[in-house]
């Protein structure tokens, strides 16, 4: 037996294959945008907590490549790190949106990062998300109305505020105005986007030009919760089945041909072990038929002896997916980052767990994973302190190929969610950031890379 095979066999025997070193993927650029910049939404007024409604923050919750140097950046439900009212978990009437960004990668050494490429981000546009049919809003809280002031007869804006729901329905109610966007992907036509919602969970399809919500991809009822509350802890305590509050559909991927979506829960469903459990679900949706298939992802890391939450999903091809796993430590809350990794899984031949429930049953059918990239190690090697690595790396996408030293390289962009905090509690600057990595076929362990097919 050759040494490599021997090592793999030994690793398999020890159950540590997932911890094998990643391939020679390089960090080539870091780009930043000011955390005090404003977007182009026109929402210049102050939110309930005094934060501007157009603050450019949280833009790395989701990231999707459109073509060239154009990307779509997705903030989540808005600034809720600044306290104002615990009955709504300090969430605000921030209108969910996506930003059209220009992330220009130039082969010019960046003296500020010491990296060979310079990434220059700029904001191109901001698109607010709305429904043309009426939505369920909450009442007044501490004198603050829940219905967005921007609403009119044909535009009912979605909202980050947690009390915007109908208590008589399940969390799958698409008429609930509360919306926590976490994953974004461009459709095969390029003219619409799919955005996953952590509240529902649901996946919505929006018109890219207007931000209007056109269609809803309803997920199996087992993903929803029956008892909604504006307070996360109350929701968690009141539901034994369905998504865990604030651990909903965090990841969203699309197949290269745009025919399948893959939704990914941040933590196991309550019936599968809930937050802290290992058995996360990935649901594949056939966009033409609506048929769904579910797979189990085991987010336990043997070398850390811990199950982490999953933040993003990205299709490497039509059957292999990259999973971004991370701790919640690092720049943002003044703690020290320790684990930010990307794993690769293959769902070809994996068991459909749609009819299974519970961690034991799911884990027996989990798709094997291998380490693709240790992001933490790469950032440390590039000179970042563990306190400077963003705590919430949440968005990732492939970009355009580039040429490095005469060789064509694929690019991987990772964005951070800075929680709309310009500075951390200890006073560290907390910008919007993007990290660019390069890789080629030799880094894929035999997998084939197929980037999304986008219209010209």
């Amino acid at each position: 037996m050759r040494p490599t095979r021997l090592a793999i066999a030994a690793a398999l025997a020890l159950g540590t294959l997932a911890a094998l070193p990643a391939y020679a993927i390089d960090l080539v650029a870091i780009g930043k945008l000011s955390p005090t910049a404003t977007d182009f939404s026109g929402q210049t007024g102050l939110l309930e907590n005094g934060v501007r409604g157009d603050l450019l923050g949280g833009v790395g919750s989701g990231l999707a490549w459109v073509g060239g140097s154009t990307f779509l950046a997705l903030p989540d439900r808005g600034p809720n790190a600044k306290a104002w009212n615990s009955s709504v978990d300090d969430t605000t009437s921030y209108i969910p949106r996506f930003h059209t960004m220009n992330l220009v990668l130039t082969q010019r050494a960046d003296t500020s990062t010491g990296l060979p490429f310079t990434l220059t981000p700029s904001l191109v546009g901001t698109t607010l998300l709305y429904s043309r049919t009426a939505l369920n809003y909450g009442g007044s809280v501490a004198g603050k109305a829940a219905t967005p002031a921007a609403n009119n007869a044909t535009h009912f804006y979605l909202s980050g505020r947690s009390d915007n729901f109908n208590a008589a329905t399940t969390s799958a109610d698409q008429s609930d105005a509360r919306f926590d966007p976490e994953g974004i992907r461009v459709s095969r036509s390029g003219s619409t986007v799919y955005i996953s919602d952590e509240y529902g969970p649901n996946i919505y399809q929006f018109d890219r030009a207007s931000g209007g919500r056109g269609r809803t991809i309803t997920l199996p009822a087992t993903f929803a919760i029956a008892h909604k509350s504006s307070v996360g802890a109350t929701e968690i305590a009141g539901n034994a089945s369905g998504r865990v509050t604030n651990k909903g559909m965090e990841g969203l991927a699309i197949s290269p041909d745009g025919k399948f979506l893959f939704g990914f829960m941040q933590s196991p469903l309550a019936q599968d072990g809930g937050d802290g459990g290992r058995a996360n679900r990935i649901i594949r949706i056939d966009l033409a038929t609506g048929a769904t298939t579910q797979f189990c992802y085991d987010n336990y890391l043997a070398d850390k002896a811990k199950a982490y939450n999953s933040s993003e999903l990205l299709a490497l091809n039509d059957h292999e997916l990259l999973v971004l796993e991370r701790d919640g430590k690092g720049l943002g809350d003044d703690s020290k980052a320790d684990m930010k990794r990307i794993y690769k899984i293959d769902i070809a031949g994996a068991t459909d767990v749609s009819n299974l429930s519970g961690a034991t049953a799911l884990l027996a059918a989990a798709a094997p994973k291998t380490l693709f990239l240790d992001v933490y190690a790469k950032l440390i090697a590039a000179g970042l302190k563990n306190t400077a690595i963003p705590a919430k790396l949440e968005g990732m996408t492939f970009g355009a190929d580039i040429v490095v030293n005469g060789a064509v390289k694929h690019t991987l962009y990772i964005g951070n969610d800075n929680d709309f905090l310009a500075v951390t509690p200890n006073g560290l600057a907390n910008p919007n950031q993007w990290f660019v990595f390069t890789f080629d076929a030799s880094d894929l362990g035999g997998s084939t890379f197929v980037n999304q097919i986008l219209p010209n």
């Binding site: 049919t133 095969r188 036509s189 619409t192 399809q205 018109d207 966009l287 033409a288 038929t289």
Partner: protein, 197 residues
């Protein structure tokens, strides 16, 4: 027995006449009773489906709005229809392609015959589809091609109709029946008389 033979003869005559009629008046493409001017386009529920017909090929485009705020967001049907006064045999070939982000389920191609709808395209597909149809229509039949869009957004489907042919189904011509049939009847009578003699 003689009565049965007469019946057979009459049937053949009608078939012959029908065949002759087909050969004489079959309409290749959209001509005659199926000429483009005979058809009417209509949209329900605020749709904007459309048709173009150059006399040989009919192209239907499903309702779809680039301006999201103008779209109906409800099901709407575009129809391209006509009424055939005479009994008609109708045939055509069709092909279908969709640019909808959600595939063929969102824009369905089919036809209506006297108020009843029939599907031609299949749901849940991305690739192109095609087929052939042949129908016999009674006099006064109302026939139309249809494209039904679930919401008129996120991409249109296109259906193409070619090889369209209508053939009037003629009733038996009394004069032809008299001209060909009477001598035969006379011949039968003559044979009967000879057998009797």
């Amino acid at each position: 027995m003689p009565a049965m033979k007469l019946s057979h003869l009459a049937s053949h005559l009608v078939l012959v006449a029908a065949s002759l009629g087909c050969m004489a008046s079959a309409n290749a493409a959209f001509t005659g009773s199926a000429a483009p001017a005979q058809w009417t386009s209509a949209n329900t529920d605020g749709g904007n489906g459309s048709a173009s017909n150059d006399g040989s090929t009919l192209t239907l485009v499903s309702s779809n709005f680039a301006d999201f705020d103008a779209a109906p967001l409800v099901s709407s049907t575009f129809s391209y229809a006509t009424t055939f006064a005479a009994p008609t045999t109708l045939s055509f070939n069709w092909s279908y392609a969709t640019a909808d982000d959600g595939g063929s389920s969102n824009d369905r191609f089919g036809y209506t015959l006297n108020g009843t709808s029939y599907a031609l395209s299949s749901d849940g597909l991305w690739d192109g589809q095609s087929g052939s149809v042949s129908l016999s229509l009674a006099a006064g039949s109302h026939f139309g091609f249809t494209m039904t869009s679930t919401d008129s957004i996120f991409g249109a489907a296109t259906a193409t109709v070619s090889g369209f042919s209508v053939s009037p189904v003629p009733e038996a011509d009394p004069l032809l029946l008299l001209g060909v049939g009477l001598p035969l009847v006379a011949g039968v009578s003559l044979r009967r008389r000879r057998r009797a003699a």
